[in-house]
Amino acid sequence: MISLISFLHTCFMRSYRYGPPTFIYILGIIFVYSVVPNPVMDSYAFSTIFLFIVSTALCYMIIEIETPNQESITLLHSGSIVKLYLGKLLYSWIFTFPLALYAVLYPAVLHRFDRSPSLEELSVAFLYHIASSWLGVALACWFGSKFIRSRVISFIVLSVLIVTTISVQAIQNSLPDGVKKAVLLLPPLHTTIETYMNYETATLFTKLVVAGSSFLYGALVAALFLVIIHRRKLDSSHG
């Protein structure tokens, strides 16, 4: 798996495709913290949503980083399509770790907050950042050309899904009482944001459950993706 991730890393780095989302993210964080002071957890809520969006963009690119011919070769060398795609998902996620660390440490180290964040706040913020990026990766993997041939359509549908995920709270409020529970099926990013907003009153258990729900939701969605890709292999809808 490490050798597979190393190959994907070489391909991704040398394609320079990581440039636009990473550059926008780094500049975006600098821009947001250009005005001081900022509330700690509210600011982290923003950067968590930002990283969620960036992680979907990264996974959307990494899942297609190989040409179909190279993918056939890599698959035969790795011996399993599940291993190949798990490698792509893990690499997409690992790629967001330094971005998460940057979002957590940059404002804390450069004193961009109205107060110094505690170690617990820093740890939970980092956990929430990587939990949300895992959620983004697990959602974006479905939008490769294996499932949706048109890149335009997949981009539009993924964008709608991102907006829906971010607006779950608003959607829930506008739904009739009988179907409010349907939002439980949507990615649980909103619970992370709510916990940021009510950080002082939330128990440690609640804080951990919120991170766990994102990891679990992402794991289930990713596992379903791997099951389906295992059945389809490298098949596509055209001959």
Partner: protein, 285 residues
Amino acid sequence: MNNQALVTLTEVTKQYGDRKVLTDITITMNHGDCFIIRGSNGSGKSTLLRIVSGLIPFTSGQRILGHPNIVIGYTPDRLPPLRMTSTEYLIHMGRISNVPRKALRERIIELHGMFNLEQHASLKMIHFSKGMLQKVNLMQATLNMPDLLILDEPFSGLDKESTEHLLHSLQQIKASGTAILAAVHEPLLASQLQSQTYWLRQGILVSERGESLLKDSMYSYEIVCHMKQETLDRLTSLFKDMTWQRVSGGSIRFTLSERDYRDFLMECLQSGGEIISLQRKESRS
């Protein structure tokens, strides 16, 4: 090595929607076998190779591997030019295949020597010609000496020198006991690999031997063409079994078997010849 079949396909059918690409394909590959699959564009050659490789699923039938650890080398029709050197690329592929480091380094040096790419080992593959990429393609497939080597149009677009070199390399690989399954377009190369040729027509796999026995006894083809002397020299050297004679107006009438006439037509047109007429005739009652 043992006598057990490496891969067996039994009545494999592949369908995309309502379109049947392959119908009831049955084929068995043993150590040292060399099968050439021929057919027109879109006849399903690549699909068949990808099914044998295990890259895509099939609609019905069975694919049985001789043993679970069978090593399959696969070369797609073209290798994408990556932003890395051939050595870096092969190190990555070898490590993904779990080839031990030391053995991998030695094998990569050996392969660069075998394919005359030593002087380009530090050049990025984006600067490689098509022939050089095709060599790297074959190198990656033979990194871990495969039991079965699957080649999709390995000679497509290669110049004469590269083709001869690749052919020589394939003969060496075959001599080591590796089974080869290749889809090729060129009529000449199939014969040089000492292989058994199959044709894919309307999704059905037909052995050339069986087909020619059946059809050669029934039909011959008369083709009247205009062509330059050099084209005539080329065609007569390629198609040894045909007969020809000059007819009025400087045209030439060729008589060919079912087996050769398609390749003859392609070769003739590609060499600048002009087809005046084509007639199928019953050669015997």
